[in-house]
Amino acid sequence: MAQWNETEMLQRLQNADTQREAFAQVVRTYSERMYWVVRRVVLSHDDANDVLQNVFIKAWTNIESFKGDAKLSTWLYKIAVNESITFINRQRMHPSTSIDDADSGLLSKLESDEYFDGDELQRNFQRALLTLPEKQRLVFNMKYFDEMKYEDISAIVGTSVGALKASYHHAVQKIRAFLEQTD
């Protein structure tokens, strides 16, 4: 991960002459990390690619409103989380789509995704994750896969550390129960 001075980066992002080049550096540094946040929510690569583009286009469009009070990475995480949830909710709000249909839709997209090479156990694990409410799934992903600190997750999703610990604990229990049932 590239090291940079946040203050200097902020100045470059706010200066019309250096803004574009600075933003390219932001994309280079954070695109992979943001991709995995999005991909683990939307599951298919094509959808993740679309959502990731939206994340950076929104960041670019609103870069003037970023004043550097929070870390740039935290701000980007929040946009990525927001865009991912919006994408899922938009699918669920489709008049002919029930919540179960939306989840099975995500799963069937995953199964036909050429960029998923998990075995049956991995597929079943993804089925278990889809039984979690969206926010709980997000928290689980950030803790389990990214091994983030609860304090950092709290800054992104706006939930207290205590509530996040409880949420993660319940998520693990639900996943275990699902896997035992389907074993």
Binding site: F23, L52, T61, S73, K78, I79, R176
Partner: protein, 119 residues
Amino acid sequence: MNNIDNFKKKNPFTVPENYFEEFEKKLMEQLPEKTSEPKKQKFTTIKKVIISLVATAAVMAGVMFMIKPTTQEAVTVAEATNTETQEVVFTSSEDEDFYQFLEDDATRKEATSGYYVSL
């Protein structure tokens, strides 16, 4: 397999070859050019709308006082004008305000926790 730690060991998700390198290039090509003028105009417009509404509310309140309403009527008018102003302010907020809110919210959380996202 009930030990869920095992699922971390192999990432079943893959990406096309050179995806991230190409993503940066493609994204930068489609980013719109920045223009600073519309932003100023937008805020000026919002301010004008708010000022107009406040002025209208003040005139309405003045008229209501002149015709000496009952206490209950006065409260109703005050509530109505207040609600109207709030609605306009909220419907005027756009993405930019939302993402400023996200940053402010993140700042509050970081300040509370004393931690930052580790990179």
